[in-house]
Amino acid sequence: MSKKALKVVVSVMLIAALIVSVFGLVQGNLTASASTQKTVKIKFLSNLPDRTSNQGKLEQMLIDSYMKANPNVKIEVEALQDEPYKQKFKVYVATNQMPDIFMVWGQPSFFLPVMKAGYAAEIKLDQIKDYGFKTSSLKDFMYNGKLYGLPRNTDFMVLYYNKGLFNKYKVKVPTTFDELLNAAKVFRKNGIAPIAINGKDKWILAILYQELVVKESGDQKLIYDAISKKSVAKNQILLKAAKDLVNLVNVGGFQDAFVAADYGAANNLFAQEKAAMYYMGSWEVGMAANPNFSESFKKNVDATYFPIISGGKGKKTDILAWHGGGYAVSASSKVKNEAMKLLLYMMHPTRWAKIGWQQGLVVPGQNWEKFMTGKETVLQKKLTQIFSSATSVSGTVWQDAFTPNFKTEAETLCQMLVAKAITPEKFLAKIEELAKLEVK
């Protein structure tokens, strides 16, 4: 048999090889045509897949202008939503295969392991001495006194609200927690979701919890200290804040099924004027200029401080603020110098900060007040005022201040708290248990 069989075998293998190589060729050709020109290719990993509005628009704008100014440079952007971004980032990290330039959250739970492992390239401080970064804003991008990343924004939490809805139902914009609870009841009665929140994303719940802790205690350090000292369960202020949060859930303070709502769903609910308030960070400053939103919404959107709690020690100007998102360059990149140049180009104060602010796309990481033109949107003005009036700021939020697993577990616990799967007491006990495991 063997001769005939062999022939057939050979032809089968050939067919298989053919199938594979046809696709290989298609692909090979594509690659070949791309590599004939002598270009520097920079891989850029971004968490902003929307390249037409907000920060994504700004990022793309700067990338385009850089390529225009440097025709030999080709920048390939891989842009993913936050969650897939985090997962993909970890794949790159685990295989020590970092893209040449990448977005990072300057938080110990995210960036510290990367800096420790030596995967990010050092940025010499004298290279950015004229960039206008405050030393405090660089803190979480530093390790052992060396700088590894640059923050792009100033992030702080505010309460966005819809003026139109507050007027229509004759509700006063809440300045105290009790007023907030009452406002929630009125909006509920009228079929309007009081506060839109993206509970599926969990992190927002942890931040809101910290907000309440700060408003109860007036002490920005309290939550971090309690966790570091592993004395969480018996802390009355932490307990009170957890109860406040549950209380807000109980009066229907958030939209229905807020625990299952993702970022887009919550944002949309507010933008469609179906929710009166929206608890979110300053990075949503672009809402007032977003072409996808209705004129009526853009006219009505406004922002205010998170309310204080009567009996609590926190002031409305004790705010949660940090420098989260930023960029870093890979230490093992073959085009490290080029990537570094790109980073320094983008983060130059006349670009990210100035252009970003003047187009109403971001609240920059550097001081932006000198770029004010007077033509700012309401949100820009309000946010500037809220931030500049701050009497204390939190820095990196509590769940991000420790290990990656601490973050995952703590956020899940927060979600369980608001879903009433655990009591406030149990919540604190679990956090303490977690701190003992994760915090050295």
């Binding site: 970890k90 299952a260 879903a419």
Partner: protein, 295 residues
Amino acid sequence: MHRVLSDKRTILLLVLPGLLIYTFAILFPIILSVYLGMTDWSGIGRPNFIGLENFKKIIFTDTTFWKSLRNAILLALAYVFVQHPIALAFAIFIDKVGGRAEKIFRTIFFIPCVIPVVVTSRMWVSLYDPQYGLINKILDFLHLGFLKQQWLGDTKTALISVIIICMWQGFGWALLIYYAGLKGIPEELYEAARIDGATGVKLYTKITVPLLQPVIKVNFTIAIIYALKQMETVYLTTNGGPGDASQFLANYLYIRAFNSYQYGYANAISVLFVIACLAVNVLFQKIFKSENYEF
């Protein structure tokens, strides 16, 4: 002839290409996974060997692991005791209806199976949405407002809501396979039974179900494997939440590996996961074997 059928070279050529690709893309990684499961690797730097530490931790202290396994088993039970009886009943209905209707309904019921999971999952998230979702609106429309739920947003209903999506999506497969089984039962057997005086429902419980036994077995096996390996739907709808109320193993190990930087631990989960799959299947085969139908 024996020589032809036992020619070593031919056998090698037939089996090798598939075997290589399978070994390369599945066995190698799994071996690596067993090793990594015995380390504390975070995904960065060097792994430290810690023996069975991870396994002990998972088995004795990880409640989410057990809950995920329980949820998978609940999904499997839902398939077997809810989806499949309905699918079998509808297969019988379709078979009985005959004519053009038979073909049309057969087609309709399979449609959800051919829609990408990404689409159906996102669609169901919208359907369940309490603000604008279809489900609560229909309950209102039917004056059943008191049945309205927060669906995916409530620990009490999240799991069942996810299970409903899975059952909806996979219904067509189960139905079509039963339908095929029905078509394979020779008409004479029914005739014989009718002569013996069996009619209606009895005809089905006495003849159809026993004769379908091999099909039912295949169908159950597929359903159980699918239930245990469930990932996409959960990932795209609740991501296991609220808390870990609707968590499933594959999704849980993904979170551990990619959100918590606990790659070693996640690999230990996946090793236990494979073992659990094998155990459930062996158990299931045993149960099935002990029930012998006579015909």
